[in-house]
């Protein structure tokens, strides 16, 4: 082998090593974040942490019960709004691929997906906070629901589009009306794809802070009324992390661990449901 060829092979090997190194370097920050949050958060979590509300500065202890309950309520209401609209919208898009409305709808979804979350917060403020005279959990839910929509619609649409046309045609040939074909044949066949879309959407908005800043606003006390300001996990983390007090930082670390575990769990669940569904098809 002459030197030229040796040089080229060496160069190729060198770049391969470089690319492998850089590719695996991406994982390092994620692992660092996970390790740090687990280390900082795990000691803070105990029963009191989960059942108490935050204490004023200077007092030891206190928990994040208000944020846990708030997050649960806000995300639940958001899902209640977004799931029906999103799934039906996805069915519409997969059933009417050529209509003009479907074109505009798909375009709107692309736009919606790209909107920065803070802008959705502004819009929800003007739709639901200003006219009704105060911050409310409901307005936060609406903002989150808007963010969930594109994910749910896209997942539903993509899932249903993958189903073979013969399924649909066989059902129509039996004389089933359209709504029953959709509800009894098409949706059940794609249900795991739809569910994974919904879980993905929930995971996406569960950690969103920006749209809640001007809508749910945060609340240091326990509140279950959707018409009042409400605390949520990401809001609590933001407010306490940027505060100068160590007690509050501790609360924020514990809350971060819970939020992170919850979001990653949802994402991993989605991975498994999608995989199972793909094997079935």
């Amino acid at each position: 082998m002459n030197a030229r060829i040796k040089y080229r092979i060496g160069k190729s090997t060198g770049f391969k090593a470089l690319i492998i190194f850089l590719a695996f370097a991406c994982v390092v920050p994620l692992l660092a974040i996970l390790a740090f949050i687990v280390k900082a958060g795990i000691t803070k979590i105990n029963w009191n942490f989960l059942t108490n509300i935050p204490k004023p500065v200077g007092e030891i202890g206190g928990g994040i019960a208000n944020a846990l309950l708030g997050s649960l309520i806000i995300v639940s209401i958001a899902s209640l709004i977004a799931i029906p609209v999103g799934v039906l919208g996805g069915i519409y898009l997969s059933e009417n691929r050529k209509s003009r409305l479907a074109y505009w709808c798909a375009l709107s979804l692309d736009v919606l997906q790209g909107i920065p979350s803070i802008v959705i917060g502004i819009v929800a403020y003007f739709w639901l906070v200003k006219p009704f005279g105060g911050f409310s959990a409901l307005s936060g839910s609406v903002a989150l629901a808007i963010m969930m929509l594109p994910v749910i619609v896209r997942n539903t649409e993509e899932t249903l589009k993958l189903l073979p046309d013969t399924l649909r045609e066989a059902a129509f040939a039996l004389g089933m009306p359209f709504h029953r074909v959709v509800m009894k044949v098409i949706v059940p066949c794609g249900v795991s794809g739809i569910i994974s879309g919904v879980i993905l959407a929930i995971a996406r908005v569960a950690g969103e802070t920006a749209p809640l800043l001007f809508t749910a606003f945060g609340n240091p006390y326990l509140s279950a009324s959707p018409l009042k300001p409400m605390q949520s996990l990401p809001l609590l983390i933001f407010n306490y992390a940027t505060s100068p007090y160590n007690e509050w930082h501790d609360l924020a670390w514990g809350a971060s661990l819970i939020l992170l575990a919850w979001v990653l769990l949802l994402n991993i669940v989605t991975k498994f449901t999608t995989r199972r569904w793909k094997v079935q098809l």
């Binding site: 492998i20 692309d110 736009v111």
Partner: protein, 328 residues
């Protein structure tokens, strides 16, 4: 069954849409059990179709509503501040001076610096998963882990950045003789660059996997090494796809709020260098929106939101266009 009566009540306007012409249920339908059932079914079917169309409309109206709200709410600022607002160099709401230039500059610097840092990493992931090792458990693990980077909430990136990254940057700054603040544009770019890796990486991976193998085989048969194939076949072929991935990353970086707000330092001064504190459009909205007490102040912030909206929408649209042209 009397088919002639049937036809007047139930018609087929098109292949797929059956329409009931009369609103009230005719009396003869009520008496005939079979007719009643199919009548009811057609009604439900129509209602279902209408609901579907309604949902499609809701989504379109929602987006138009968002745009309209932003435009309407920023009219006071557009009227009183004019176009010069975007180039105004000072932002001092107390003295009623509004200029968005520091924020535009802050947004541009953080986003492009973040892109610059993240591109080598995201392209490496794309090449590694797309060309070197497309199958196997380790690449699969890498793929899933990189996708998880996008799943971590941005507020947690911000908190981690504040607690871990900012001290590191601060010690670096003090050792190189810059004012050691820690927070600032460089820190937020670092955080952003981690957050946007998955977007360009996953798109680039699928693009690289789509390169036709005859092209690659041709190059191999001419004696090219793996790296030469990547550099002179795969990268030129997937150029536009990789570009689209970078655009999507950029769109994400421009709109990112929380992590940036927490580590950028929040001043309205024009940043002097990449280590000085600043503000981005999104972070200034997050910080000052609830404090804005004057209508013009609020409206000026919303105009920033409108600009952010338009810029990210255009970037995303161009990105999507490039992708669809590439895949077809």
């Amino acid at each position: 069954m009397d088919t002639s009566v049937d036809k007047t009540v139930i018609t087929r306007r098109s292949n797929s849409l059956r329409v009931i012409t009369s609103i009230k249920t005719p009396s003869f339908v009520k008496t005939n059990k079979r007719l009643k059932r199919s009548y009811r079914q057609i009604r439900t079917e129509n209602a279902f179709r209408r609901t579907l169309v309604l949902m499609g409309l809701v989504i379109v109206v929602l987006v138009l509503g968002i745009l309209l709200t932003l435009v309407v709410q920023s009219i006071p600022s557009i009227k009183s501040l004019g176009l010069g607002y975007l180039w105004g160099k000072t932002w001092d709401p107390v003295r009623d001076i509004y200029g968005a230039y520091p924020f535009l500059l802050g947004t541009l610097i953080t986003s492009f610096l973040a892109l610059l840092i993240s591109i080598p990493f995201s392209f490496s992931v794309a090449i590694f998963l797309g060309e070197y090792y497309p199958k196997g458990w380790l690449p699969n693990l890498l793929k899933n882990t990189v996708e998880l980077i996008a799943a971590v909430p941005s507020v947690i990136y911000g908190f981690w950045g504040l607690a871990v990254l900012v001290p590191i940057v601060r010690s670096f700054e003090s050792s190189s003789g810059i004012q050691p603040l820690g927070v600032g544009i460089f820190s937020s770019s670092l955080i952003l660059s981690i957050m946007i890796i998955p977007y360009a990486a996953s798109l680039g991976r699928s693009m690289i996997q789509m390169v036709p193998s005859p092209l690659k085989e041709g190059a191999y048969s001419l004696g090219a090494t793996k790296w030469e194939v990547i550099r002179s076949v795969i990268l030129p072929y997937t150029k536009s796809g990789l570009f689209a991935g970078v655009l999507l990353s950029l769109g994400r970086a421009l709109g990112e709020t929380m992590a940036v707000t927490m580590v950028i330092g929040n001043t309205s001064l024009i940043p002097k260098n990449i280590f000085s504190p600043g503000n981005t459009m999104a972070s200034v909205i997050a910080n000052e929106f609830t404090e804005a007490d004057k209508p013009v102040y609020l409206s000026a912030l919303i105009e920033l939101g409108l600009v952010l909206f338009l810029v990210t929408v255009v970037i995303n649209m161009v990105g999507k266009k490039v992708i669809s042209r590439f895949t077809n």
